[in-house]
């Protein structure tokens, strides 16, 4: 392929290297050495992820965690413009200011659905296994170039503004990756099996409604623990839905699958373990309470979980 996911990682790594240097030089950051080291080591994982052996990489990851987890990433000085100045700029650029931002989703979609099978000289243009991610990376680069043209500003300024957002996100930036790691260790340690055993041991198997409740609530709870409905689905479905709903009561597998997965998504809305959906956005939007997005989602998630239970009972089992 011409554009691979690894190239996008290297591009990200280069940005992080610059962010790291800018952090080291930022004298107004009370922890500039740890902040810079954090972004620098993070850059290493993007630049040399394939080359460094997993054991050493594990060591690097633990250092990154220690740097960020114990408050080593702090805010510095980003030479921000005051609001009056920004308003002046906005009235000058007017709606052109939106163009680079809107290019990102637009180019990503074009790459994903139009260029996904494009070949140049018999070689695929975009990495066929990672079309969306590569498209996002390319979109980011094109948008950056467009932003520099529109603003007539420098790449260094752009990365420094990016650093402002990255430092604000801080430790939350790597939480999704750490949670994925935890999910893998949970799987290796047999956590899924233990939980499905507990759930199956407490439900009355002959009361169909109770089984439906156990499955849907189980999907939500397991998803909350694992942070991912995809991890919960095979375990809970094999443990409860297949033997007790599909085989015993003849429920339609299509309906069970659709509603089971949605029950898991209700769990995703309620857990800090789904950090990329719930914690990172809170950080990205400068919310002081990192759990506020979850709190806002909680009522909708609970109502939908209840609705799912009734949908499953009536649509998959005909209400008996």
């Amino acid at each position: 392929m011409i554009l691979s996911l690894n190239m996008i990682y290297i591009l990200t790594g280069i940005i992080l290297v610059v962010v790291s240097f800018l952090s080291f030089r930022d004298r107004q950051n009370p922890r500039r050495w740890t902040t810079g080291s954090f972004w620098g080591l993070y850059a290493v994982t993007f630049l040399f992820g394939q080359q460094i052996s997993p054991v050493y990489m594990g060591g690097i990851v633990l250092v990154i965690v220690a740097l960020a987890g114990f408050g080593g990433v702090r805010l510095g000085n980003y030479d921000e413009r005051p609001r009056t100045e920004r308003l002046k700029r906005a009235s000058k650029l007017r709606n052109w200011v939106f163009l680079p931002t809107l290019l990102i989703p637009t180019i990503t979609v074009i790459g994903t659905i139009v260029l996904n099978k494009t070949k140049i000289g018999g070689i695929p243009l975009l990495d066929p296994k990672n079309v969306t991610l590569v498209s996002l990376g390319v979109a980011g680069l094109i948008a950056l170039i467009m932003a520099l043209i529109i603003t007539k500003d420098t790449p260094q300024r752009a990365i420094n503004e990016g650093r402002r957002l990255m430092d604000a996100i801080g430790w939350a930036a790597i939480l999704p990756q750490m949670l994925a790691t935890l999910g893998a260790l949970f799987a290796a340690g047999g956590v899924g099996l233990a939980i499905s055993k507990i759930v199956t041991s407490v439900i009355p198997v002959h009361n169909t409604f109770a089984v439906v409740v156990a499955y849907c609530v189980g999907m939500a709870l397991f998803t909350m623990i694992m942070g991912n409905a995809f991890a919960a689905f095979p375990v809970m479905t094999a443990g409860i839905a297949v033997p007790l709903l599909i085989q015993m009561h003849g429920a339609s597998a299509n309906t069970i699958a659709a509603l089971g997965m949605f029950s898991g998504y209700c769990g995703t809305l309620m857990t800090p373990m789904a950090a990329n959906f719930n914690i990172v956005p809170a950080a990205l939007l400068d919310l002081p309470d990192k759990y506020q997005v979850i709190k806002v989602q909680l009522p909708t998630a609970l109502i939908l979980l209840t609705a799912n239970i009734f949908f499953m009972y009536f649509l998959a089992l005909g209400g008996h």
Partner: protein
């Protein structure tokens, strides 16, 4: 067997006690590995491998320079100004519209037409805040945070309950693969179709909540009755004072 749940226990207690999530998750991972009798090098390797494999989750970093630079040139301010011109716009209505677009585009498989870094931070949240400011004047920090949290929530809910309606999305393929292994017949079309009732319910339930958000904002920020210019009110007969 039950020892394998030690990691889960650490996570739950850690989050309740509000320790730094990064530390909690790492300690839980180490503990899970240790009680599963994995050698330390194996646990370290697992940390390294998973971290590297899942770098794709953090690719939003790549677009932060664009967002940051455009913010310097008034991106948020322009988004607020733009929404301020639309008289009918309220925070709730704007978020309902975004919810609808996010859910529909996800149902068509266009899940990348959104996202917290791409759309919420630069556009949706400033517009939602701008709509409130245009209507009520200055708003408190707490209100700003609440509106922002709602903006993020709308992106998630639209994505989650829209995407499973699309037959070629990862979730549908995963479920198909799972049932195929067990020789239980399922079809992507069938699974996508049975998702529709929940998808519609999600839109209705959350839209109602956004209407309630509008009402709550209207209660918190009562719009003062339009003051007549002083010159006219002077002799307009303030009844009881004479």
């Amino acid at each position: 067997m039950m020892w394998s749940l030690l990691g889960v226990f650490i996570v739950i207690v850690g989050f309740i006690l509000r320790f730094n999530p990064l530390i909690v998750v790492t300690v839980a991972g180490l503990a899970t590995g240790i009680v599963a009798h994995l050698p330390l090098t194996k646990i370290l390797a697992q940390f390294g491998t998973s971290f590297v494999t899942n770098r794709y989750m953090s690719l939003f970093i790549l677009i932060l320079p664009v967002i940051g630079l455009m913010e310097r040139y008034g991106l948020k301010e322009q988004a607020e100004a733009l929404i301020g011109k639309v008289k009918a716009a309220t925070t709730g209505r704007l978020l309902i519209l975004y919810l609808l677009l996010r859910e529909l585009s996800s149902a068509l498989g266009l899940t990348s037409l959104g996202g917290h870094a791409q759309m919420v931070r630069p556009l949706v949240a400033p517009m939602a805040e701008g709509a409130a400011k245009a209507k009520f004047g200055p708003i408190s920090d707490a209100t700003q945070y609440e509106i922002r949290a709602h903006s993020a929530a709308v992106d998630n809910i639209g994505l989650f309950f829209g995407e499973d309606i699309f037959i070629a999305i990862g979730a549908i393929l995963l479920m198909k693969g799972f049932f195929d292994q067990l020789n239980i017949p399922v079809t992507p079309m069938g699974m996508a179709m049975w998702g529709i009732p929940t998808a519609i319910t999600a839109f209705i339930v959350h839209s109602v909540r956004l209407v309630l958000l509008d009402r709550k904002l209207a209660r918190e920020y009562p719009v003062p009755p339009k003051l007549e210019p002083l010159a006219n009110t002077k002799n307009s007969g303030q009844g009881g004072l004479d």
